[in-house]
């Protein structure tokens, strides 16, 4: 087992661990910290893949991930948390225990689906694909398991991380994809920011229950 | 030779029509006398209905001002329909010139036409009794029509032909004898005949109680010649039903229009049949009372079931008979 495989496997495992533990957190600050760790690990994985496949665009992706997703984004998120004073725990839509069990189930599904399919390709990509699919599904579960808008955004960003991990794992993926992923994060943050400010003006809290009442009126 | 036969049949037909038209009031008179005698009264003379018709013809015709100008039309339509029906149903002899016309469905249609004319006459002037009588007569006609068609199926299946004349020929030729299905059919036919001619169980011909009368209510507003037409049509209706029952259930000995020699025998038999049926009618009328209006549908419902049973038993008999 070459060093390349072992190290990328390790970094992938760390990211999966962060994504999984996101499910158990109730306080926003902890979630942001876990997300930051995940982003840092992702940028390390990107650098490592860049070194392994000596493709210089992966280095660029790693740099962008480090600067934007690992540093700027958490700062912005913490600003929002401070401005709205969201120190207390965030209301969850389903019991945490249940979401953990579902998380394990999802990882099982991801593995069940990816491994028989990619029997022909290189074992590294198989491993990488299984982990990134799991992170995407866990991020998705995170979005459906929390009522707080910010928690949903963090789930969404965790899914993005899974995608970027998958992209770095693809040998020779043209650079175009990298740029677009970055573009997505930037704009997403911009739009989300704009939203959150406006949500604050219309409702006193970040909680989505305010929105749910509107929907229940039914039009 | 065939010209002679045709000539005989034409003369036979004219004789038949003349006899039926002449005998109609006599039958009503006979029934009236017999009824009175059974009730221990002397009763009017047999020719009393002739006198009544002649008297009505001489009287003035009063037309109500609220009636429309179709007022005089209905009696003519009703009388014409009944005369045609009388011409079609064979009396003393079969093989009349009108034989191919005498289809059972056409006969049912003509009776329906006469009934429709009477109903419209009832609704003509627009006062309560005409409408009430018409509504009741319509209720009876709904069940009569259903039972009549089922009976016609039985007769059609027995005689394998659809004309009354053909049925008479077939029943006279083959010795059908007493069979269960014909028994049921006779009972059903009698029930229908009594309701159609407005005899006791369905309607009281002699009674004049406004609330109970059915046929007479529709003719209340008519007078003079028009009333005579309606009365005569009612008489014709009785003799047509008698002829119908006679030809189907007592066909033996009916004459054939072609051979003139058999006519006297046929005539005698026909008169005898009318007498027998008149006596039977009077006996039945004296022994029962008039039913409530809404019991008559059940009475006719029983007749319809008997009709269905007769056609089913016919099927069973044909199967067992081999």
């Amino acid at each position: 087992m070459s060093l390349v495989y072992q190290l990328s496997h390790l970094l992938g495992g760390v990211m999966l661990l962060c994504a999984f533990s996101l499910l158990s957190q109730r306080r926003l600050a902890a979630m942001i910290m876990l997300y930051q760790i995940e982003a840092i690990t992702l940028s390390a994985a990107a650098f490592w893949q860049g070194f392994a496949q000596n493709a210089d665009d992966l280095y660029l992706t790693g740099a962008i991930t480090l600067v934007i997703k690992a540093i700027l984004l958490p700062i912005g998120l913490r600003q929002i948390v401070l401005r709205f004073g969201l120190i207390r725990a965030v209301e969850t839509a389903m019991p945490v225990g249940l979401s953990m069990i579902l998380g394990v189930g999802l990882i099982g599904v991801a593995v069940l689906v990816v491994l028989p399919i990619t029997v022909s390709s290189v074992s590294l990509t198989r491993e990488d694909l299984a982990i990134s699919l799991s992170i995407v599904l866990l991020g998705f579960l995170m979005m459906t398991a929390r009522r707080n808008a910010l928690a949903q955004v963090i789930g969404f960003l965790s899914t993005e991380n899974g995608l970027v991990l998958a992209a770095t794992g693809m040998p020779g993926m043209p650079f175009v994809a990298e740029l677009s992923v970055a573009l997505l994060v930037l704009l997403a943050f911009l739009v989300v920011g704009v939203f959150l400010l406006r949500i604050r003006e219309h409702f006193d809290t970040l909680d989505l229950t305010g929105l749910e009442d509107i929907e229940r009126l039914g039009r | 030779m065939s010209f002679l036969i045709l000539l005989a049949r034409v003369i036979g037909s004219f004789a038949h029509i003349a006899l039926v038209l002449a005998a109609a009031p006599a039958v009503i008179g006979l029934v009236g006398v017999l009824r009175a005698r059974l009730l221990g009264r002397r009763g009017p003379a047999i020719w009393q209905p002739y006198a009544r018709l002649r008297r009505l013809l001489r009287k003035d015709v009063l037309t109500p001002e609220t009636a429309t100008d179709l007022f005089p039309l209905w009696p003519y339509v009703c009388m014409a329909a009944m005369v045609t029906a009388a011409a079609l149903v064979p009396g003393f002899c079969t093989g009349l010139v009108t034989a191919p016309l005498s289809d059972v469905i056409t006969l049912a249609g003509l009776l329906a036409l006469a009934r429709a004319a009477t109903l419209l006459a009832g609704l003509e002037t627009g006062f309560g009794f005409g409408g009430a009588g018409a509504a009741r007569d319509l209720l009876f006609s709904v069940f009569v029509e259903a039972s009549l068609l089922v009976l016609l199926l039985t007769f059609g299946l027995i005689a394998h032909t659809q004309t009354v004349d053909g049925i008479a020929e077939a029943l006279r030729a083959s010795h059908i004898g007493i069979s269960v299905s014909l028994g049921f059919a006779l009972a059903a036919m009698l029930a229908i005949a009594l309701t159609e001619t407005g005899r006791i169980p369905a309607d009281n011909p002699a009674g004049h109680l406004e609330l109970a009368m059915v046929h007479e209510a529709m003719l209340l507003e008519y007078s003079g010649g028009l009333l005579a037409l309606f009365e005569y049509a009612a008489m014709l209706r009785l003799i047509v039903w008698m002829d119908l029952i006679g030809t189907i259930f007592l066909p033996f000995g009916m004459a054939r229009a072609q051979d003139v020699l058999s006519w006297p025998g046929g005539l005698a038999l026909w008169a005898g049949k009318l007498l027998v049926m008149a006596v039977a009618l009077c006996l039945f009328e004296v022994s029962t009372a008039k039913m409530r209006v809404f019991r008559v549908p059940e009475f006719l419902g029983v007749a319809m079931l008997l009709g269905v049973l007769s056609s089913v038993f016919l099927f069973v008999a044909a199967r067992i008979g081999g």
Binding site: S120, S121, S132, E160, G172, M173, V191, F195, H202, I214 | -
Partner: protein
Amino acid sequence: MSFAALGVSLPFAAAILAGLWGTPAQGARLNAVAGGLVFLVTLCVPFGPGAGLIHADGLGMLFGVLTGFVSFTTALSNLGFVRLGEAQLSLRRWRVYHAMCLVLVGATLLGLYADDIGLLWVAVEGATIAATLGVSLARTASALEAAWKYFILAGVGIALALFGTMLVYLAAQPALGPGLPALSFAALSAHAGRLDGALLTLAFVFLLFGYGTKAALVPLHGWLPDAYAEGPAPLTTALSGLMLNVALVAILRFRHLMQANAVAGGGALAPGPFLITLGLASLLLTGFSLPRRRDARRFFGFSSIEHSGIVAFAFGVGGVMAIFGGLLHLVLHTLVKSALFQALTRAAAMRGDASPGQFNFSRLRGLAQSNKFLAWVLAACIFTLAGLPPSGLFASEFIIISQTIQRAPWASLPLGAGLLLCAVAIIRKIGPLLFGAAPARTQAQPAGGAAYLAGMHLALTLGIGFAMPWALYDLLHGIAAGLQ
């Protein structure tokens, strides 16, 4: 610089200009001029398809022309909309609105002309962000809620699509090796047989969920009814209708890859059942959701879900004629739906203002008193959606039903039930609209440009539906045979 690339870059340039300069009226005129130019460019694309990253194949050309035409007529009717709805938004928001209109058109054309599946994904993502900004322009709570719902659901859809795109790239490795060729549709469909079938199936599931969200197939349709009901009408309804086309065309292309692979024995599953299930789900759910809608734009949003469900169903049934029927249905539906929204906006403007909340059916009752021509055009548009003969959609639905009974008989019962439910729910709305009692004191008003544009759209639909010229028939049939 092939015509296709020009067609894509022109709107983006105009968008930047519209975003920074000009009053609302000037922005609308710029929008109209840009729309006209883009329409001309899309018309000449068939004569110079070109090659490389952005070039138009048969499907791209057809829908490119359609997009150009619809965006041009929408821009023209937008002139009236801006003049009447002046006070709704601030100056800065009008500029954002015009910019987003042009960005949406540019992204749609990019999505149609992109041969590279990565570029297609970028186009779809750009269009989503433009539409989200459009929905959030009005500052009401419901607009905000719709925009938030749109952003979250569409964002998730896009993420899944990206994952699917990467899986397709991975599946293409054995046949095409690393680098750009592994992402180009032309190369992929040429070597479809030798792609990795199992991976392609997994990719198709993700792509179906990703682009299915953009095509608003049930259960991914959550965002559409609210997005259609909010924001200025021309942007969020007429133009975003074009977005449905891009998504359905993408699904058709990926379906072709998978079908070719399955036929050539590459190990992929047949794509039919996936699409049929989603199509029927859309048809039946909208069948039951339509009757209770009171807001017109939300009602016709659900109708769009129904029709994209029918098209997905037709692609699922497969076979040349079914695909032909599906494409014909898509073309006709785009024309009718954009005409409908233009006429609807004009009708709402006649009855007060055309701001998002004012499209209740009770406000549009007895339109004949306001303007007879507009009332009959709007009624004709709504009637065409029901699919009864005088409407062009009857021809395409006839083809689809006849192909279904021959190729997938078990699916014809739910299809018939769904079509019946939706058609009944749609024709229920026409009676009150035309012959209902108009609110008090409505006087007659001039029809305005939108009504005549909508009428022209209807005439075109009738012509294509029942008097299709042989040239167009051969083109469509060729495309369908190619993608069979």
